[in-house]
């Protein structure tokens, strides 16, 4: 007559437990689902009906009412199918309620097969934290689920198998052993192949070491894009915790490749400039994480920054400042983590030759003005390093010399990062770029000469308070790269130099 089983849904990137209550009454056959289901959940009616019949169970010829609790949370996605089917079988007396509570996750095919769903990692974590020890889910998701410790994950390939395991007729299949994620040695772009551009490389090293935001400005063909593509090769490896966070986001976005383990590489996202605000910040009617969240713990590269729509760029303000983004929709507000390093590039003017030493720029003052104006002051204020990239000279292009390999730079970056990790232990932040005003006060104390230099720069460059803080943060990173505890004048000077640009 009545049964209660447990399923999960996804809100943002977090899993939420859902009580699935099934009631059968002797009335004319009907099947209703109440409790704020979305379209995919309502459609479960037809999938569950067919899956039951095709697994040689009967669909009870009665009035079936399913209530999904808590009733005020929007339930989305097809992963409640399995819980629904299990609930109906229990209510119909075809399956005894298991002694320990189980959480069921999975989408049903019409023939009763179990299909993988997105967001499994987050849902299994939620189930564990809610006290569920036994979780049944599609075999294709088992490997992802096995990343969570402290739960008993039982994979199944079909509804029939799921029922047989629950009723004890069949021993559960073992979770497939996780393959050590094979570091596909896909050749990452390496700085050694970038000729010249030593100052730009230095700036990117500083940025990678402290997690700072960079804007590269230079004529077309000077290598801005290539430089940016090399950045992943010098980023420090992710911590276990960061891996888990990033994997959760990819899982919720449905971008996790089937049967892959944790994401261990820092993400590098480079969306095209036709990007819409919703695609950048996340959203949609059933919200999914956007580019800023997919770049969480990694880098977001916006090539040709002024070509992006202005409203798209303005969306960046909150994530750049806070490290998360809140997307509000009719039914609920979702918060996605989005702490990333912003890499951007642009030409100095529409034709691109303004900063070139030899070639003449053909843009009018008005064109240049409107080109620059596309990037707002508040956004520029959030950039830590401005780097001018110049066109290479002949001897640089034709030279056969190789630059410093990424591995050497990565080693320095790694050292600087471990200094930061030690310094910020217990402060809830990981790198210099994340410092809050109180951290800046505590950790960024320049010497007297440095303070002098800062005072001059402040009035000469018309800095904002935010820009001032950012200079201090960058100086901190440069000192860390030098392995020095104190911020010296030369560190301040270098940090200020990344602020000095004739373009803004």
């Amino acid at each position: 007559m009545f049964a209660r089983v447990y399923g999960c849904t996804i809100a943002g990137v977090e899993g939420k437990m859902v009580d699935v209550e099934v009631f059968l009454s002797s009335q004319l056959p009907s099947f209703d689902i109440v409790g704020l289901p979305d379209t995919a959940v309502k459609e479960a009616r037809d999938r569950v009906r067919a899956a039951l019949k095709n697994s040689s169970f009967r669909f009870p010829p009665q009035r079936v009412v399913v209530n999904l609790a808590p009733a005020d949370v929007k339930k989305e996605g097809p992963q409640l199918d399995l819980a629904l089917a299990m609930g109906i079988l229990q209510a119909d007396g075809k399956l005894a309620a298991p002694t320990a509570p189980w959480a069921f996750i999975g989408e049903l095919a019409l023939d009763g097969a179990l299909r993988p769903v997105r967001g499994v990692l987050a849902m299994v974590l939620a189930a564990r934290d809610a006290g569920y020890r036994n979780i049944m889910l599609p075999l294709a998701n088992a490997e992802e689920a096995s990343l969570v410790t402290g739960v008993h994950v039982v994979p199944a390939t079909s509804l029939k198998e799921a029922v047989a395991v629950i009723s004890g007729e069949q021993p559960p299949t073992a979770v497939p052993r996780r393959k050590r994620q094979q570091r596909k040695n896909e050749q990452k772009a390496d700085f050694k192949n970038v000729k010249g551009q030593e100052s730009a490389k230095r700036a990117l090293e500083v940025a990678a070491a402290g997690g700072h935001n960079v804007l590269m400005i230079g004529p077309p063909g000077s290598g801005k894009t290539m430089l940016a593509r090399c950045v992943p090769s010098i980023l420090p490896p992710m911590t276990e915790e960061e891996s888990l966070e990033t994997t959760k986001i990819y899982s919720a976005a449905g971008l996790l490749v089937e049967n892959s383990g944790l994401i261990s590489e820092r993400p590098f996202r480079s969306p095209h400039h036709s990007l819409t605000p919703a695609a950048l910040c996340g959203g949609g009617r059933n919200p999914r994480p956007g580019e800023v969240s997919l770049a969480h713990n990694g880098a977001l590269f916006l090539d040709e920054l002024p070509e992006f729509r202005r409203e798209t760029l303005e969306v960046l303000r909150q994530p750049l400042e806070e490290g998360f983004i809140t997307v509000t929709r009719l039914q609920a507000a979702y918060t996605y983590p989005s702490r990333f390093m912003l890499l951007a590039s642009m030409n100095p003017c529409p034709c691109g030759m303004l900063s070139d030493a030899e070639k003449e720029c053909v843009c009018s003052a008005g064109q240049i003005y409107s080109y620059r104006r596309k990037i707002s002051g508040p956004l520029l204020d959030r950039i830590d390093l401005f780097v001018e990239v110049t066109r290479l000279r002949y001897d640089e292009v034709a030279g056969t010399g190789q630059g410093e390999p990424s591995s050497a730079i990565a080693a320095r970056v790694g050292k600087a990062r471990s200094l930061q990790a030690a310094r910020f232990a217990g402060h809830g932040i990981k790198c210099n770029a994340e410092m809050l005003p109180r951290h800046i006060q505590q950790f960024c104390k320049p010497d007297a000469a440095g303070r002098d230099l800062l005072r001059q720069a402040f009035s000469r460059l018309h800095l904002s308070a935010r820009a001032y803080d950012r200079i201090l943060k960058v100086a901190r990173t440069i000192a860390d790269l030098d392995g020095e505890e104190d911020i010296r004048t030369k560190h301040i000077a270098e940090a200020i130099s990344y602020r000095q640009t004739e373009f803004f």
Partner: protein, 113 residues
């Protein structure tokens, strides 16, 4: 086909009588259609739709009473109440299914309203 339905209704009527229902009409007809059995269960007027099936290969008998059929029965019931001049009667709709092979009878009280 009509034979099966007729036999089913015969069994249904006997079944209801055994339950203590007073059968008022069998196959009550008006120009809009027909109600299989109109009975009285205590003070409650019961409009009963009888469905007989030999197999469930085309769906269960209950499923055959779809929304359209339910709407029709409501209309006929109002017609009947009007015709007989009853005021504010207590009534309900039952569906009674008969398995023509095994003779098994199932009664869904208040199957819809």
């Amino acid at each position: 086909m009509r034979k099966i339905g007729g036999e089913g209704e015969e069994r249904a009527a006997r079944f209801l009588k055994r339950l203590g229902y007073e059968i008022l009409h069998r196959n009550w007809r008006c120009r809009r259609g027909e109600i299989d059995i109109i009975a009285r269960d205590g003070k409650t007027l019961v409009f009963t739709e009888v469905k007989t099936r030999r197999s469930t290969s085309r769906g269960t008998p209950e499923e055959a009473v779809d929304r359209k059929k339910q709407e029709k029965l409501r209309l006929l019931a109002r017609y009947y109440i009007h015709e007989t001049g009853m005021t504010a009667p207590v009534y309900r709709f039952d569906v009674l299914t008969v398995d023509a092979k095994s003779g098994e009878i199932k009664l869904l009280k208040s199957a819809f309203s």
